[in-house]
Subunit: 344 residues, 2 copies
């Protein structure tokens, strides 16, 4: 079993690779699971040393569009014999708002190249496309909904960022390549991943992690939106669990070729701050900096707070139970990133 992960040096890609390597085998469309012989990590950056040390790991470092574009001998990033592709590589929302061409290239053209390369294999590989909650958007000029804004798998997305538009277009392409029998597409909309370890990235949603991560490290953490702002969260563990499950669904389990919403813990940033205070104490929670940022507010306001995920639930996936648990899991998984908290 040969697996490709684009964005394989990123946080989710690395964690997915580690999970798959530990699992050892993989099942496609209900067939008997086969040992994972190779995981190819495609990224503009080198993967972590622990991954490179595994003999099953190959690394393909360079311009992602170039690596995914099929030439006469196929695409370097999608080698012959590839059975499964996880397409996680993307430019994130705030980056794409600032640089329109970047989004077109990194999100749209790269996905088009990847699908062409997968089709060129001629073997109908599984393609897990990491779409996003950000396909949903409420126009800034629209009146605020009178009650909670709930979206489900069959809600019409009206993306309000280029990132969201490009992800939604990716879903459409994946659906059509699947209908034609070129791939087995699995488009899954990831929720806001929190708590994401490491450095901040360019995502407008980055503060949903930073407002917890930085205070736990003894630093100020920005929360540029109002406490009552709703958010649909998934921990790294639940997110990876979902990606692994989605890649191994049968065509019948998957059902419609449209994208599915992954399960979400629906909470508010105020509740997240309260959970941080319960888990790590008031001094840590006091490090949250509530200075508003109109630009981030505008983007975040356009996303739905409440997400239904009937198809994901049908696959046996579930959301995190509460944000206290999510914070405790983060502290357990990232002991070096925690500073000055009694008992940690």
């Amino acid at each position: 079993m040969n697996i490709v992960i684009t964005g394989g040096a990123g946080f989710l890609g690395s964690r997915l690779a580690r999970t798959l390597l530990a699992q050892g085998d993989f099942s496609i469309n209900g067939q008997t699971a086969r040992p994972i012989a190779r995981i190819t990590l495609v990224d503009q950056f080198s993967p972590a040393a622990d991954l490179l040390a595994d003999p099953r790991v190959s690394s393909c470092v360079g311009d992602i569009n170039a690596l995914l574009t099929p030439g006469p001998k196929g695409a370097a990033g999608i080698p012959d014999g590839t059975d499964v592709v996880y397409h996680l590589a993307a430019a994130v929302s705030a980056e794409c708002e600032a640089d329109f061409d970047l989004g077109l290239r990194s999100n749209l053209a790269a996905t088009q190249a990847l699908l062409a390369a997968c089709r060129a294999l001629g073997t109908q590989p599984v393609v897990v496309f990491a779409s996003s909650l950000a396909v949903f958007g409420l126009p800034a000029e629209a009146p605020a909904p009178s009650g909670p804004w709930v979206v489900s798998d069959d809600t019409l997305p009206t993306p309000q960022t280029s990132y969201g538009i490009q992800k939604f277009i990716g879903e459409q392409l994946v659906a059509d390549y699947t209908r034609k029998g070129y791939i087995r597409g699995r488009a899954a909309r990831l929720m806001t991943v929190s708590v994401r370890p490491g450095m901040p990235n360019g995502a407008a949603s980055g503060f949903f992690s930073g407002m917890v991560r930085e205070p736990l490290a003894g630093l100020k953490g920005a929360c540029p939106v109002a406490p009552e702002t709703e958010v649909a969260i998934s921990s790294p563990a639940r997110t990876i669990e979902g990606l692994v499950r989605v890649g191994q669904t049968t065509d019948a389990e998957w059902g419609a070729r449209t994208a599915i919403n992954m399960p979400a813990l629906v909470t508010t940033v105020g509740e997240m701050a309260a959970a941080l205070e319960r888990v790590a104490g008031p001094a840590v929670a006091a490090l949250i900096d509530w200075t508003p940022d109109a630009n981030i507010r505008r983007i975040v306001r356009s996303w739905p707070g409440q997400v239904n995920s009937p198809r994901a639930r049908g696959l046996g996936l579930h959301a995190d139970p509460d944000f206290d648990t999510v914070i405790r899991d983060y502290m357990r998984d990232n002991p070096k990133a925690i500073k000055g908290i009694p008992g940690s």
Copy 2:
């Protein structure tokens, strides 16, 4: 006022050009109407002689993708000073099912090039994007709906053809270029145009015209689907009326950046055949050949029969009153295409 029509040598493009030339002026976003100084017809074929004879008409003949791709001096097909672009050029549904790459190039890449060229103008031109009823699709494997399948402006499209997918992607790109202020996008889903004069084209929906047009010319006309098959029709006159109106809407009238459904006369092919018998007599209606075609049936079955168009109605647009009127209009407009009918 400078207007570009892609697909300007085609049936709808030519008729739109004639209508605009006769109208003489054009209003953008509620501004005072200005005289039409130039209409550029972009097509792989030469426009009709009557159009070329008008001093306001320019023709740009060649590979459409090449003509729309902006170079250092812009795109040949989108000249400096362009105020309005009607993007009608497309490869049609059955062609794109037979040739996947043709659809990607003619429908997706061409639209991407056109939008890039419009953005490069820097003047926020109006772009009317001819989308299609074919964005809606019922998966072949889905159970048939228990009642009539009704779609509206906010129904989630799940296209079941590459053509439909590519049109839906075009809608998304138009929405995002509009949100960014690069264009004023107006994405309008055209209904099945009938009765379309001239020769059959490669569209799976072509028989909705042919089953009337050919018998009126004294020839056999194929209707490869069952008489109870529902269809959402728009006559050429109503379709052109809609395109002209849509291009002249204000931003406020247009509202959401999502696409609108154009008004439709909902009927069945059985009722269409009955109308033909009423208008042209039983001998003409007997020329309809009801031999089924499984391929066409599969595509047509995936389209909705009943279409609601609240936003188009809000713009003052309306559907044809009945198919008898549509047939009579066709006979009046195309006297040379009618053979052997008493009184015609």
